[in-house]
Amino acid sequence: MTLDKFKQGDKVKIKSLKCGQNFKKRLMELGLFDGSEIEITKNDNFGPLIIKIFDSKIALGRGEAQKIYAQKI
């Protein structure tokens, strides 16, 4: 399932990133890579999502979230 489909409060494990090399690098630096565990802090079903990686909140565009596959834990 892609990241934008999860609900607020879901804790998920990242499966794969299907986005461009540069953006992927950016996400990895922030701690989002396959195998990492994150939490969906806010998802209004439109506009960007807010996710929690480690101890920081990150806003992520919806279009980008649609390229990230994850599994609920």
Partner: protein, 681 residues
């Protein structure tokens, strides 16, 4: 030659960890702001004395990683590799050890002479974290010091560590291990390079690692070497081998290995116990600040409040400066008369210079307070939330939330606003953001609004000025929608931004920031505005024998040529035509011109007399149309120059100059004539 500084420190760390706060605490006002050579990234340096050592400190841009991805990141690693600072201090936010240590690991790979400064530990402790910094220091083999960047606690301890580190030859002994598979491949590359190059072991290791990562700088450094092809093949083979074993791409492998190491480290060093949620307040504020319905109204309310406070607080201060200049003008006249100076000289000083420059300097309190408040919003963490709530809105004009930040910066000055578009990844995003940026009402236009609202809307200053800023944004949105039709429709660059926890900014940092702005404003008044005040004074006094500032002067003739264009907009007096022409140099000149042209006949109270003079030539409606015109018409020459430089095209520069002026004319026309139809005059 004696060395200018005994010690050079590079200051680095993630964004929002208190790096600038530490920089300000260490250096105070002894700062120098410039650009990194050949880059648009700002370079801040400062110096201070500690135990007879003069220490230079270089504030490196905040970055999440050292891999070459953005300009900011190349600056940091280039600085460490080429300029070899004696010490590198990394500021770490104790509330987010894991992510911060990702940069630490890369700095260790670079074998930087590293010291870790742990900031905001008290906040982290109050949230239930506890840490063993001694253990961390032992495990990493480098000094770790807990500091409080805001209060300056333990700063001396940090300085002592810096001195000790810079005089010891020992570098960090720790070598990171990436697991046998990766280490084997790294060894292969190390051996290959060490046979060809005579560089230190550490440099070789770093190069091998960067080659595996596909860092383009490492590649560029080597691609002229005779053995390049052979090396490239070896690197490729290693990558393929590793990707096969791990079943993912090389960057994911290295990142997860690094994070694996960090997680292990954090398990022994950081303890997270019965987390007291101190962020409840922060979270509940976020629920409103980023609410799908209330987010935008709250942002608008905040902006409105910003202007209300700015005007309420600055009014009495402006009164003081006003009194000072009237006093100065009066006494100067007396002194010059007693010296037997000609009427010309007296007029040059009182009407020309004090009228022009003084008329602009009166607005120092407004500029200072507004920037203080904007810095407060930025440093508190609210601006990042604004980027979030504006994202879906910005999508409508084909941009994303991050493009809102160059636009907000435009409220300060459009020049840095336009330069900040470099953080946007695609050309189309950049161009679009640049084209609409001039409609963001910059600080230089504020004195014009302040002058006119003071004369015509003194009871509603905050409201009227807020409406102008809002109008600028609305015009920008409409133009964005139109440009989107012509530029490609596709939304391209990705949106990701960190929302830092809310924090109370340091007062010192805010004051330094506001002072920088005020100083810039004073410098402008002392140079460009002074020169043009004298030019306008000369135009108003010539030809010989003409009555100062009358219609028959050169300024009057010049103004009257252009007046017919502005007549339908409600300001057909020649003074405003002259003011608008010279306003192209810098928008504050509009105010300076009125000051010079209307003169200060009764030196008792110069701005009030200017108000009276304006009330003769304008009605409230036409003054509003005039302010709208100043808001929207051709941006000042500095902005046009930066557009030319950033787009590298004269065509776009002329386009901006012409289209903004056209829009300004149309909107002012609609407001003035529409207002008249509604009987507002």
């Amino acid at each position: 030659m004696p060395k200018k500084y005994d010690i050079t420190i590079g200051l680095t760390g993630n964004p929002n960890v208190g790096k600038s706060t530490l920089f300000n605490t260490l250096t105070g006002s002894k700062q120098h702001v410039g650009n990194w050579p050949g880059k648009t990234v700002e370079k801040k340096t400062g110096n201070f004395k500690f135990h007879d050592n003069t220490i230079q400190i270089v504030d490196l841009p905040g970055a999440y990683s050292l891999t070459a991805y953005t300009e900011e990141e190349t600056v940091t690693s280039d600085f460490i590799l080429q300029e070899k600072p004696n010490v590198v201090v990394q500021v770490i936010d104790a509330q987010n050890f894991t992510r911060n240590l990702f940069v630490t690991v890369q700095l260790i790979e670079l074998s930087a002479p590293l010291i870790l400064a742990i900031n905001m530990a008290d906040l982290a402790r109050s949230e239930g974290f506890s840490f063993d910094l001694k253990e961390l220091s032992k495990l990493l083999g480098l000094p770790v010091i807990e500091i409080n960047a805001k209060t300056g606690d333990n700063i001396n301890k940090l300085n002592e560590a810096v001195i000790k580190k810079s005089f010891s030859k020992k570098s960090s002994i720790i070598k990171l291990t990436y697991g046998t598979e990766i280490d084997d491949e790294l060894t292969k590359l190390n051996t290959f390079i060490s046979k060809k190059e005579k560089i230190s072991k550490q440099e070789i290791h770093w190069l091998s690692l960067k080659l595996l990562e596909g860092d383009y700088r490492a590649d560029q450094e080597l691609n002229k070497k005779p053995y390049y092809l052979e090396l490239k093949k070896t690197v490729q083979k290693s990558i393929e081998h590793l990707e096969l074993i791990f079943g993912k791409d090389i960057n994911s492998i290295l990142t997860s290995t690094r994070y694996g190491f960090i997680n292990g480290l954090c398990k022994t060093v950081v303890k997270k116990e019965n987390i007291k949620n101190n962020r409840i307040l922060s979270n509940s504020f976020d629920n409103i600040a980023m609410h799908k319905i209330w987010g935008i109204p709250l942002f608008l309310f905040t902006t409105w409040l910003l202007f209300q406070i700015t005007f309420k607080v600055s009014k009495p201060l402006m009164g003081l400066i006003e009194t000072f200049f009237s006093w100065l003008g009066e006494h100067l006249t007396q002194i010059l008369t007693s010296w037997g100076a000609s009427n010309w000289t007296i007029s040059l000083f009182t009407e020309g210079i004090i009228g022009g420059v003084g008329g602009v300097l009166i607005f120092i309190p407004i500029i200072g307070i507004l920037f203080l408040l904007i810095a407060l919003l930025e440093d508190s963490g609210y601006m990042a939330r604004v980027a979030y709530i504006m994202d879906k809105f910005m999508h409508k004009i084909g941009l994303h939330g991050k493009a809102f930040i160059p636009l907000i910066l435009g409220f300060g000055c459009n020049v840095p606003g336009i330069m900040a578009t470099r953080t946007l990844e695609t050309k189309k995003d950049r161009l679009l953001t640049m084209l609409i940026n001039p409609f963001m009402s910059c600080g230089a236009r504020l004195p014009v609004y302040a002058l006119f609202t003071g004369a015509f809307f003194s009871a509603y200053q905050g409201w009227i000025i807020f409406s102008l800023y809002l109008l600028g944004i609305i015009v920008a949105i409409i133009m964005g929608l139109i440009f989107k039709k012509f530029l490609s429709q596709k939304l391209s660059s990705p949106f990701v931004i960190e929302l830092p926890p809310y924090r109370l900014p340091s007062i010192k940092g805010l004051l330094i920031h506001a002072w920088e702005r005020i100083w810039l404003f004073i410098k402008k008044a002392g140079t460009i505005i002074l020169v043009f005040s004298v030019i306008i004074w000369a135009l108003a006094s010539l030809p010989m024998g003409v009555e100062y500032g009358s219609e028959t002067s050169w300024a009057g003739s010049l103004g009257k040529v252009v007046t017919p264009v502005f007549k339908p907009l409600g300001f057909g007096n020649w003074q405003s035509s002259v003011a608008l022409i010279f306003g192209f140099v810098a928008k504050e000149v509009v105010v300076g011109t009125f000051g010079t042209l209307y003169g200060i006949e009764d030196a008792e109270n110069n701005i009030t007399s200017l108000h009276h003079a304006l009330q003769q030539d304008f009605t409230p409606l036409s003054s509003y149309a005039f302010m709208v015109f100043v808001l929207l018409y051709v941006p000042c020459m500095a902005v046009l120059a930066v557009i030319k430089r950033e787009t590298n095209s004269w065509k776009w520069m002329f386009f901006v100059a012409i289209y903004t002026t056209t829009i300004a004319w149309l909107v002012s026309f609609i407001i003035y004539q529409g207002g008249r139809l509604l009987g507002l005059e």
